[in-house]
């Protein structure tokens, strides 16, 4: 009596079927799932009660009867009367009940509705697929950006070709143009968030593959992926603004505004190296006529160099001062002063030549490109060590561009 009551009220769906697959006993939970009353089950076969699911169930029942072995974690999916028009998922354990004569007399079944769990897994999988797709798209964008960089670099090299006499050096520059230090600095900015996104997405996939996935952890991962994706997107957005301008266009610009536009691109480098950058600008500067993208690249390269110079020291950070002022009647100058170690005296006259570098990871291209850009603009660039330490780069652009010789 108590057992019958327990069977009836058990918080899991239960039934007993005989060797003809007729229901002998069934509890309320399973009746609710099947959408029929106890009376509509008892004495009828599985085919009669749930015809659309019977093909998944009857062969398994027959297996339990034939082998006298239980079947565990048997999954059934399909529509039920209780949820018309919906695909539901059920997980069942089925045990043979053996008579005294040693033959299987009944099959005892316990069934759990796992639809909610399956749906949660599916939506997580879908969210991850979407994120992986975004990572893939971002990567494709990066490749595209690389090509745009190539175009910009090719323009730069062509300008240098006109300006320089040493064709052999230039051929070398052309071959390695896309590996310049600027590209390396940008790829570093993008690589970090992309690495975090990939690792997080793959970790989430590992987590949801587990028996009891920690959904809270998965949620935190997805939040991190979203914020890293935005971080990478922000770098790309800033770069696009820089690169989409026509690289050979001559525009009338204010050098102080141009310098301000570069600062956000090196901000994270500066923070990482604990470097403060301050900008001082003379009032009422006349405009210059330049290719703004190329001149921004010069400014960025000087800033990245200054940051790297300070980064190499084991001191408590450093300072970079950028000053924009009049250079006589004919030009405007930009000066970048750092308090790093300076440049060894015997190397200082060589720094604008290609493949001369004081950095362990440098290619020695950055300053050579800067010089070629200034040559093409009819400007000049120079360097000196400053007291008590550090070095001072400064370039001058003429108010009106002269033809490069």
């Amino acid at each position: 009596m108590e057992l019958a009551h327990l069977y009836e009220r058990a918080p899991i769906a239960l039934c007993v079927t005989d060797t003809d697959h007729r229901y002998v006993r069934i509890n309320q939970q399973l009746c609710d799932i099947n959408g029929k009353t106890i009376e509509e089950h008892v004495g009828r076969t599985v085919y009669e009660v749930i015809p659309h699911l019977a093909d998944q169930i009857v062969p398994m029942f027959q297996g339990v009867i034939d082998t006298a072995e239980p079947v565990l974690d048997h999954e059934v999916r399909g529509e039920t009367l209780s949820f018309p028009g919906e695909e539901r998922f059920f997980l069942g354990n089925h045990f043979p009940l053996i008579s005294e004569a040693g033959e299987v007399q009944y099959v005892h079944s316990m069934v759990r509705d796992i639809t909610d769990q399956r749906r949660a897994e599916a939506s997580l999988k879908e969210a991850n697929d979407r994120l992986e797709e975004r990572v893939r798209l971002r990567t494709a964008e990066l490749v595209g950006l690389g090509e745009e960089l190539d175009v910009a670099a090719a323009e730069r090299v062509r300008a240098q070709e006109e300006a320089s006499r040493n064709k052999a050096e230039l051929a070398h520059v052309l071959r390695v143009r896309s590996m310049g230090e600027l590209a390396a600095s940008i790829s570093h900015e993008l690589n970090q968030p992309l690495t975090a996104v990939l690792t997080n997405a793959q970790t989430a996939l590992r987590l949801i593959g587990k028996k009891k996935p920690d959904l809270e952890e998965v949620r935190e991962i997805l939040e991190d992926i979203v914020s890293d994706d935005k971080r990478a997107g922000e770098v790309i957005r800033r770069l696009r603004t820089l690169l989409r301008k026509d690289p050979v266009a001559q525009e009338t610009v204010q050098l102080d505004e141009l310098v301000s536009g570069v600062l956000p691109l090196v901000r994270s480098d500066a923070l990482g190296a604990n470097v403060r950058i301050s900008v001082k600008s003379a009032p009422n500067l006349p405009p210059v006529e330049v290719d703004p993208v190329q001149v921004q690249q010069v400014v960025m390269n000087l800033l990245v160099n200054a940051i790297d110079a300070i980064r190499g020291l084991e001191s408590e950070g450093g300072d970079i001062e950028v000053e924009i002022s009049r250079a006589g009647k004919q030009g405007v100058s930009v000066t970048v002063v750092d308090n790093g170690p300076g440049i060894p005296a015997k190397e200082i006259s060589e720094v604008f030549k290609p493949f001369v570098t004081t950095k362990t990871e440098g290619l020695g291209m950055g300053l050579a490109i800067c010089k070629s850009i200034l040559d093409a603009h009819g400007g000049t660039i120079s360097v000196e060590n400053s007291a008590p330490r550090g070095c001072c780069f400064s370039f001058v652009l003429p108010l009106k561009q002269r033809a490069a010789s």
Binding site: A184, S187, H188, N191, Q192, P193, L194, T195, A196, V197, L198, T199, N200, Q202, T203, R206, L207, E217, I221, D224, S227, D228, R231, G272, A273, N274, R311, E314, T360, E361
Partner: protein
């Protein structure tokens, strides 16, 4: 009951550090993470069994600089380098000095886990050799 192997993770980028630490914890390693080589040298008490996952370009002491300092110690742990810079010279130099692997960011999770397993195998062998010597 054996304790899980230690993995010491050193990277200056917080997102990378957090995600890699999470992956390794999911795979049941004991992870300790550090945002600089200096912090690692100053605060870490290295276990006998474990390995180091090391970023290359960091403020202050670089990944290669840390490798040199660790090599000068007697019981150094194997190093796996993760970097966004595929500098061939540094790669060759660090592998020659005993780094187990040099992985380019972004890397596949399995690539890193395989490298860690290889590093732990080498670490066990080196500990055994030291105890025999």
């Amino acid at each position: 009951m054996k304790t899980a192997p230690h993995v010491y993770l050193i990277d200056d980028d917080e997102s990378v550090r957090k995600s890699v630490a999470r992956l390794l914890r999911t795979e049941a390693y004991q992870v300790e993470d550090y945002c600089s080589a200096q912090e690692f040298l100053e605060t870490c008490r290295m276990a006998q069994h474990g390995c180091i996952v090391l970023d290359l370009r960091m403020p202050g002491l670089s990944g290669e600089g840390l490798q040199d300092k660790l090599l000068a110690m007697k019981e150094a742990l194997p190093i796996i380098v993760i970097t966004g810079h595929g500098d061939l010279r540094i790669r060759a130099s660090m592998l020659k000095k005993g780094a187990v692997a040099f992985l380019a960011k972004p890397f596949d999770d399995q690539e890193l886990l395989d490298a860690i397993e290889a590093a732990l195998v080498r670490n066990r062998r080196e500990v055994e050799e030291r105890s025999e010597a």
